[in-house]
């Protein structure tokens, strides 16, 4: 009996010790954070360690660990290479990359728990307002190299300051099958009736082809709103005035709920195409992969997306390069114009709480070098925003098509000024409801206006 009791006490003590052991602090990094399975780490290599050993005293004094947080899966491998190169010659500064698929949400937890990364790609107006980012306005060594319109895109409208540096540009519009268009003698549409006529011609000639493939993921449907009704407002009032209208929720300019306004007209057009069978039947359940597959196998004629899908298209079918056309969004309002998204991409912000500003800047100088940016632009398939970077970011035929589209239409940016409580995904979910038949176009416009307004008050 005594032995049993002793054993029980011993086991309890062991359990207690092992539980408390989990609470012990670690000293492996400055943040004390243990790497998790989603963490992509690029630590210093043995070669770098040997180099550091050569002048140990100086390096020990300089040893700094920097955390770099990103949600851009497509750049993780390349950045790991660049980080590895940097760590080998940094003289004691070690950059560690952490990738999280749900970065926009996880960064919030990091901010809330006081574990802000030193450097991050996540950027929201809400965080600018809360002073989470370092003011980079005086970093002329970067701004002088940047295309002026990209510097403008990086500028916070309220303060006129810059809290991020964007190294690349991206475009969004309609990707279309040039071969199919040529075969049917179709031209890129500039108005909605022309656009609809093109879709009808495709449907008539190829009944088994989806003229316009839309996939049901909320972000994609939210982008349709972003590029079409929002695009109309941005083109009508100009970038700055549109941003101001959105920041101040100027209902006279935005007018989302108007049954004859941009939002209701967009919804009416979409529902009409759905009824005519001009968009894919499985719009609500199709995925972006389904869309890419359909396009590269000739089962759809066009789809809306950004340049970020280009590498997927070419990976799945390298022979498509000469067949990929790129067109602006047609004007769908009487007083509208065709628009194309030309926006900043790959933005970097430094935490306002970091104790290692000089070290982060040192790393960014390395990352922003013309050599690394050329590599980055070519891997990402996205034009560089630096004037001194000459990169072949896509096959020539695609580049010329994109340049023509950009030159022929009004260029719009992303809406960073939307209400904090109403995300692009929320907008996309309203489009899901519209396509599921829950709303009429007028009800949809009203629901959008209500959700938009609630986003300011919630």
């Amino acid at each position: 009996m005594g032995k049993k009791k002793f054993l029980a006490v011993l086991l309890t003590a062991a359990l207690g010790m092992s539980t408390l052991a989990g609470c012990g602090a670690t000293d492996t990094s400055t943040s004390g954070e243990a790497p998790d399975t989603n963490t992509v780490t690029e630590a210093a290599t043995p070669a770098a360690s040997e180099a550091e050993a050569a002048d140990s005293t100086e390096k020990e004094n300089k040893a700094v660990d920097l955390t770099f947080f990103t949600g851009k899966v497509e750049t993780v491998d390349l950045l790991n290479q660049i980080i590895s190169d940097y760590n080998q010659q940094s003289g004691g500064i070690t950059v560690e990359q952490e990738y999280q698929a749900d970065a926009s949400n996880i960064i919030k937890i990091k901010f809330a728990s006081g574990e802000s990364p030193d450097l991050m790609t996540t950027y929201e107006q809400e965080y600018v307002n809360q002073g989470k980012y370092l003011d980079l306005s005086d970093r002329n060594e970067w701004w002088d190299r940047l295309i002026p319109s990209m510097k403008e895109s990086c500028t916070d409208l309220e303060s006129g300051k810059q809290y991020r540096v964007c190294t690349n540009m991206t475009m969004a519009g309609f990707f279309y099958n040039k071969e199919m268009f040529d075969e049917l003698g179709l031209k890129v549409a500039t108005t909605w009736p022309e656009f609809e006529a093109n879709l009808e011609a495709i449907k008539e000639a190829h009944p088994d082809v989806d003229p316009w493939f839309i996939f049901g993921e909320a972000w994609h449907l939210g982008h349709l709103i972003e590029f079409m009704p929002h695009g109309y407002i941005k083109a009508k009032y100009g970038a700055t005035e549109a941003k101001k209208a959105m920041l101040s929720n100027d209902s006279a300019k935005l007018d989302w709920g108007n049954p004859d306004g941009a939002m209701a007209t967009f919804a009416k057009n979409l529902v009409e195409l759905q009824k005519k069978g001009l968009i894919n039947e499985d719009v609500l359940t199709a995925t972006s992969d389904n869309c890419i597959d359909a396009f590269v196998t000739g089962k759809c004629a066009m789809f809306s997306n950004g340049m970020w899908c280009l590498s997927d298209l070419l990976t799945k079918n390298p022979d498509m390069a000469d067949k990929i056309g790129f067109a602006p969004y047609p004007a769908f309002m009487e007083d509208g114009v065709p628009v194309v998204l030309v926006a900043e991409d790959s933005g970097y912000s430094i935490s306002a709480e970091t104790e290692h500003v000089d070290e982060v800047v040192d790393f960014l100088n390395f990352l922003f070098s013309a050599e690394n940016q050329k590599k980055y632009a070519e891997t990402l398939g996205s034009p560089s925003a630096f004037k001194d970077v000459d990169a072949s970011w896509a096959p020539d035929s695609i580049v010329s098509g994109v340049n023509d589209a950009v030159a022929s239409a009004t260029n719009i940016g992303f809406t960073n000024e939307k209400p904090a409580g109403f995300s692009g995904d929320d907008a996309g979910r309203l489009v899901q409801d519209l396509l599921a038949g829950t709303y009429s176009p007028e009800e949809f416009a009203k629901a959008y206006e209500e959700a938009w307004n609630a986003g300011y008050t919630n």
Binding site: A8, V9, K108, D282, T285, A286, G421, Q432, A436
Partner: protein
């Protein structure tokens, strides 16, 4: 001697109490406090009293989510128990390959509901899913409809997937209950001329009541907090049609309404508490 034993028992229960305090009591109290603020997840929290709780009852989306969650929970509980009981009755008979059949029925329960949702998504996708291609081979291409595109059919799909996954667990509890019923009762009733239906409804079913209670209550509790299978199968869509209250809490929490989301979590806690209390009462009555 008895006092020494009591002290030892108290000492031994200390680790469990500490864990309970750290991982349940403390978060619960913090949660209650947070639910009385307008905290957005980052900035300063301001005390706003019960406003979040009042807001909840005028929040159409939240009320719709309660309806969806309750329909899912009740629908799942009813079907899980019917299917689980039928499986158990089948497994209580002797036939060749019974062990393999039992493993196959139970197997889905050990797969993550998130993965299960994705599997069914790729099975059910209209025009692209594996079941669609299978039906096409059989000359029945229209058999697989666009089920995840409307509220009612999407909710039905979610319930069926949930039942398909967890019916094996329900079966195990029923099987244990069936094994515990002494054969004397059924044999005596059979000698008295009872039919098979009478045997089942008059003897087996009443004696299975403890197992039924456990199954119904655990199924309802589990289904009320459903999250992963919905996220992977419909993401709460189309729109917010099949959004459960757990998903709503997550979205509000990440949508700068952390204080409000905590209040909704407290309300969900109370909702789940109802079947728990009913279960405890029933168990006490039985005792």
């Amino acid at each position: 001697m008895q006092r020494k034993k009591n002290k030892a028992a108290q000492f031994l229960s200390l680790p469990a109490l500490i864990l309970y305090g750290v991982f349940f009591v403390y978060p619960l109290l913090r949660g209650i406090g947070m639910s009385l603020t307008n905290w957005d997840g980052m900035g300063q929290a301001t005390f706003i009293g019960l406003k979040n709780y009042f807001d909840f009852f005028s929040d159409k989306r939240a009320l719709h989510d309660i309806q969806t969650t309750v329909i899912f929970a009740v629908g799942s509980a009813v079907l899980l128990n019917i299917v689980g009981l039928l499986y158990a009755l089948l497994m209580n008979t002797e036939f060749k390959g019974k062990s393999i059949a039992r493993v196959i029925i139970y197997l889905p329960a050990i797969i993550s509901p998130l993965i299960m949702g994705y599997i069914w998504y790729f099975l059910l996708q209209p025009k692209r899913g594996y079941l669609y291609y299978a039906c096409m081979q059989l000359g029945l291409p229209d058999l697989i409809g666009n089920w995840m595109s409307s509220y009612h059919s999407a909710l039905a799909v979610l319930i069926v997937v949930n039942v398909w996954q967890f019916a094996g667990m329900t079966m195990i509890i029923y099987l244990a209950g069936l094994k515990a019923i002494a054969k004397d009762y059924t044999e005596a009733a059979a000698i008295d001329g009872a039919t098979k239906w009478q045997l089942f409804f008059r003897i087996t079913l009443p004696l299975l009541m403890p197992a039924i209670r456990i199954n119904v209550v655990t199924n309802i509790i589990g289904s009320l907090s459903v999250f992963d299978v919905i996220m992977s199968l419909t993401e709460g869509g189309p729109g917010y049609a099949t959004e459960s209250l757990s998903i709503y809490i997550m979205r509000m929490c990440y949508g700068s309404r952390t204080g409000y989301s905590t209040a909704v979590a407290m309300i969900l806690f109370v909702i789940i508490l109802i079947p728990v209390l009913i279960s405890m009462r029933l168990t006490r009555q039985k005792g």
